[in-house]
Symmetry: none
C-alpha cells in the first residue's frame, strides 16, 4: 500500500523567534536545527538572512542537515527588478537549497500596507519566484493573509497562488497570518482552493493560535488536501504562537484517521524523542515546561480523579487515548485528597512498596494525606515527601538522624565601603546514633553575594553528617518554589524543593509552616531522607 507523503516544515527558528522575549543565539539555532533534523522534519526555516545579525551569522555557516534548509524573505519590492532588490539578494546569498518568500494575497493589504496596485503585486510574485527558480532554488510562496484575502476577493487571492505555481514554485502556503480564521472556515476555503485547481501536493498550511485553534486549523487544511504542514516546536511564534508541531506530529502519526495514512520523515523512534526535544527548547529559553501540554506535558498522563485511577489499574486504555511511551512520556498517578485507595496502592507500588488491597494502613495513610492537605501540604507536586510519610505510617522509615535545634540569622548593614550588604548564618545541631554535632555555615556564593537563610541552613545541615556524608554530598537543590496558601484558617507558607543526584534522579519534597524558614527546612530534611532511603543507606 502506498501512503501519501505529508511534508513537515518547521519555522521555530524564524516565526518562533518572533515570540515576544525570544532571541536565539547562533549556537542555539544550530542546536535546535540539529534536534529538528533528528526528529525528522522535511524543511527547517532557519531565519531571514539580512534581517538581523544572528540570522546572517547562522546562514553564513549553516549546519549540515538531512532536512532542506530554507531561508525566509519577501517578494521583491515594486519599482525594482528581482535582480536589483537588495533584500531579496541577501536572502539568495544565504545559498540555501530552498527559499520561502512572503507575498501579499489580500487586496486590502496590497493597497493599504504596500500601497501598490493589484497587478503590480502579482507581477512582483511572478518575478520573485521566477528569479528563485532561475537560481536553482526550490521556491515557496508564503501567501500572507490568504484566508482573509480569499474571503474579500477570492479571484485575486487564487491568482496570486497561480502566479507562483506558473513560475515554478514547489509550494504555495496558505497563511492565516493574524490567526483569526476558525478551523471550519480554513477547511472550507482550502477545499475550494483545491477544487479551483491548485494541487494539494503543492499546498501548504500555516496557522496561528490567536483563537486557540492553530492545531485544529492545520488538521482541517490537511483534511481538505493540503500536504505541507508548517509549525513550530512547543507552538512558539508571533503573538499567541504558531501551530504546535509537538502536538501535531503525534496526532498525525498516532491518531485515526491519520495514523498509517501518511508517509512522513518521522520514525516511531524519533517520535519517542519528541518529549526530550520539547524540553530542550524550554531549557534553551529557560522556560518552565507547560505541564498541561498535549502529549509531552508532565501532566498529560497524570490521573488525579479517583475514579480514573482505579480504572487505569484495570486497563490503561480506559483513560488514556494513546500509550504515553510512544511520545517518551509516562503515566503519573498523583496523590491528592480526591484519591482513593487504588490510587494510593498504585503510587506506593511505583515507589517499590507493595501493600495488599484492603490493608487497614491504606485508610490511615489516606487520613494523614487529607489532614496534611488541610494544613496546606500538596503531595501531588511532592512525591518524595508523600513516600516518606507513607513509609513512616507503614513503619518502613529508619531513624537516620535527629535535628535537635537550629538558628539562622540574616543581618543587613553597611560594609566598610559604605554599601548595604547582607549576611546569613545558620547553626544546626544534629544527633546521629547518640552523637551530637554542631555545624555552622554562612551563605555566600563565589561572587560574594549572600544567598539567604535557606541556603545557609542547607549548607549547615549538609556539612557534617558522618556516615551519611557521601550520600548527601551527591545531591543538590535544583529548584525552590514558594507559595502562600491556606492552612486551616490561617495563611501558611508552602515550600517545594526539587533535588537532583548524580544518577540523574530528580525528586520533590514539601514543607509547610507559617514560618517560611521552617517550611523550607522541613522540605530540605525530606529531600535528604528520601535520598538516604532510596540509596539504601543503613542508619547509624
Amino acid at each position: 500500500m502506498t501512503r501519501e507523503r505529508l511534508y513537515l516544515y518547521d519555522t521555530t527558528l524564524r516565526d518562533g523567534q518572533q515570540t515576544q522575549g525570544v532571541q536565539f543565539s547562533t549556537l542555539e539555532k544550530r542546536q535546535i536545527a540539529a534536534a529538528l533534523d533528528a526528529l525528522g522534519v522535511d524543511y527547517i526555516e532557519g531565519g531571514w538572512p539580512g534581517a538581523n545579525p544572528t540570522d546572517s551569522e547562522f546562514f553564513a555557516n549553516p549546519p549540515q542537515t538531512r532536512a532542506t534548509m530554507t531561508a525566509f524573505g519577501m517578494t521583491k519590492r515594486v519599482g525594482r527588478s528581482a535582480e536589483n532588490d537588495d533584500v531579496l539578494a541577501m536572502v539568495l546569498d544565504a545559498a540555501t537549497p530552498a527559499v520561502c518568500l512572503v507575498g501579499k494575497t489580500h487586496d486590502f493589504h496590497v493597497k493599504t500596507a504596500l500601497g501598490v496596485t493589484l497587478d503590480e503585486n502579482l507581477a512582483a510574485i511572478r518575478a520573485s519566484v521566477a528569479h528563485l527558480v532561475a537560481k536553482g532554488r526550490e521556491a515557496l510562496l508564503d501567501a500572507e493573509h490568504f484566508f482573509d484575502g480569499y474571503k474579500a476577493n477570492p479571484g485575486y487571492a487564487l491568482s496570486c497562488l497561480r502566479a507562483a505555481l506558473d513560475e515554478g514554485a514547489r509550494w504555495v502556503v496558505l497563511c492565516d497570518t493574524n490567526g483569526g480564521t476558525l478551523p471550519a472556515e480554513i477547511g472550507r476555503i482550502t477545499a475550494e482552493v483545491v477544487a479551483a485547481g491548485i494541487p494539494g501536493d503543492h499546498l501548504g498550511i500555516h496557522c496561528h493560535d490567536d483563537t486557540g485553534n492553530a492545531v485544529a486549523g492545520s488538521l482541517a487544511a490537511i483534511d481538505a488536501g493540503a500536504r505541507q504542514l508548517q509549525g513550530t516546536l512547543n507552538g512558539l511564534g508571533e503573538r499567541c504562537g504558531n501551530a504546535n508541531l509537538t502536538t501535531l506530529i503525534p496526532t498525525l502519526l498516532l491518531k485515526p484517521p491519520y495514523a498509517g495514512r501518511f508517509e512522513t520523515g518521522v520514525t516511531p523512534q524519533a517520535l519517542q524523542g519528541i518529549l526530550r526535544t520539547s524540553r530542550m527548547l524550554d531549557d534553551i529559553l529557560n522556560r518552565v515546561p507547560r505541564r498541561a501540554a498535549a502529549y509531552v506535558g508532565a501532566s498529560a498522563f497524570a490521573h488525579k480523579a479517583g475514579l480514573h485511577a482505579s480504572a487505569i489499574l484495570k486497563d490503561p486504555t480506559t483513560y488514556e487515548h494513546i500509550d504515553p511511551a510512544l511520545v517518551g512520556n509516562a503515566r503519573i498517578i498523583p496523590m491528592s485528597n480526591q484519591a482513593g485507595q487504588s490510587n494510593l496502592r498504585a503510587r506506593l507500588a511505583a515507589a517499590g512498596i507493595a501493600v495488599e488491597p484492603g490493608d487497614p494502613r491504606l485508610g490511615r495513610i489516606l487520613d494523614v494525606v487529607k489532614a496534611r492537605e488541610d494544613q496546606g501540604y500538596a503531595y501531588d507536586g511532592a512525591q518524595a515527601s508523600f513516600e516518606l510519610m507513607a513509609r513512616a505510617e507503614l513503619g518502613l522509615l529508619p531513624a537516620f538522624f535527629e535535628v535537635k535545634r537550629y538558628r539562622v540569622t540574616v543581618e543587613r548593614r553597611k560594609n566598610k565601603y559604605d554599601r548595604m550588604v547582607s549576611l546569613s548564618e545558620a547553626v544546626v545541631v544534629v544527633k546521629i546514633g547518640g552523637q551530637k554535632t554542631l555545624s555552622v555555615s554562612e551563605s555566600m556564593d563565589s561572587a560574594g553575594s549572600d544567598r539567604g537563610p535557606v541556603n545557609a541552613l542547607a549548607k549547615a545541615l549538609a556539612k557534617d553528617l558522618g556516615p551519611y556524608q557521601a550520600c548527601i554530598d551527591d545531591m543538590k537543590l535544583v529548584d525552590f518554589k514558594v507559595r502562600v496558601t491556606q492552612g486551616g484558617t490561617d495563611a501558611v507558607t508552602r515550600v517545594i524543593i526539587d533535588s537532583e543526584d548524580s544518577q540523574g534522579r530528580r525528586w520533590s519534597t514539601v514543607g509547610v509552616s507559617p514560618n517560611i524558614v521552617d517550611a523550607s527546612f522541613e522540605a530540605l530534611l525530606d529531600a535528604m531522607l528520601w535520598k538516604l532511603v532510596r540509596d539504601g543507606v543503613q542508619p547509624a
Copy 2:
C-alpha cells in the same frame, strides 16, 4: 431577531481542581465562584460533595450566585437503590438547584471498569436521574466516554442519553473523557446524535485538550447543534485540561459565524473583564500567566515582526483579528521606543504624574525598567513599586526615613513541654529626620504560633515610625507571593506584597534578591513608602 440561547457551564471548581498540583481552599472556591458569576456563566459546578473536606465545606455554605450552582457526583451504584446510595445522598445533601451525575455510556467501560451488565448500567442512569428529578433538582447526565462509546456501540451510547432524558434530565452532556477524539469526529458524531432525535437544546459538550483540540472540538459540537458548553477558566483540568472558556467565550461573542448568533449570559462589559478573571485564577494558583494565551495572554497582541508593527501603525486591523480592548487586553509593540514612551506616559498619568511628551526623563525611566527587569523585577504586577521608581527618577520621591540596618533571627528548638517550636525576632534601626530609632519585635500571633522572619521584620519596621506612625498603622499586608526567577545569570527570589488600607485601597510592591528576607524587606519598604506618598504625608 431572536437569537438562540447558548448555555455556559463552568467546571473550574470540579474538573479544574483535578489539575495536577491544584487544590483550592474553600475561600478560593468562593472567590472563583464570584468571578465566574460576574463573568456571566450559566452554571457553576462547585465540586463533588462528600469527596473531600474542601468540597463539603464549600457546599455547606455556598455563595449566593445568579448562576445555577451545581453539585457533581456519579450515578447510583448497581446493587443498591438510588435512595440508599450514600455517595449519591451526600451529593443531594448539598441542596444545590442542579446536580450533574457522571454515568457510563461506553459498553467497554461498563463491563471493564464497573463490571456490571449494560442493562444494569442503563437502569442505574434511569433511577439516578429519576431520583434527582423527584427531589426537585435540575438533572444533568455527564455521558462519560461518549464518543468512544458511540464508535464502539452507537445504539447503547444513545440509549444511555435517552434513558436520562426520558426520566427528565434537563441536559445530557457528551463527554470526551480521555480527550482523544479529534474535532471532525466530534462534529460528525454530535450531528448524528441530533439526527437520532436528541434535541440540541438538551445537548452539552465537554472536551479535554489531550490533542490540543478542546476548543475546536467544542466549536465543532456547537456547529452540530449542542447548546451547552462545558469548560474551565484558563483551560484548567485533568491531564492536559478542559476546553478553555477564557478562549471560547471571546470566540463565541466576537468571531463570525458566532458573533451575534447566540444569546449568552456574558455582556460586552463582562467580556472586558475576562483578562482580569484569568489573571485572578493565576494569582490564586501562584502561576505565571501564559503569555501566549489566546485573547488574554500578555503577548496576544504583541507585534514583534517589523513588517507587522509598521502596518499596525497604519491600520490595526492589518494584523489584529479583534480589537484587544474588547477582552480587556492591549496592543504591545515591543521594539518601538515611541510606543514605549506613550505607554509610559499613560501609566504615569494613571498615577497622577504628568510628564510632557519627549521629556528626556521618559527615556531614562524606560532604561531603568529594562535594567531592573533584567535583574528579575516585574513591574506589571507591582504598580506601586513602578510608581516609586519613576518618582525617584523624576525627583518626586521625598526622603521619609532611612533604614540603617536590620537583623532577623529564626530559632527552632524544644520548648519546656518538649515540643519543637520556632521563634523569630527582628531588630530594625531606622533614622527619621536625624533621629535614630531601634525597634525589636518577635513574630508570635494570638494563637502563640510563630509567623516567621518577614512578619517579625514588618512588625519591627512599623513599630516606631514617629511622625508617620498613624499613616503606617492604617495599612496591612494582605498577600505575599514568592517566585524564584532568573536575575541575570543567577536565580533570584522575587517577592510581591499586596497591602491594603482603611480606604479600601490595595497596592502591590516588589522586591528582588538572592536572599528571600532582603527581597521581602524591599517590598515591605516600598509598600510603606507608597502609602506615605499617596497620603500626602510631609517628610520629617
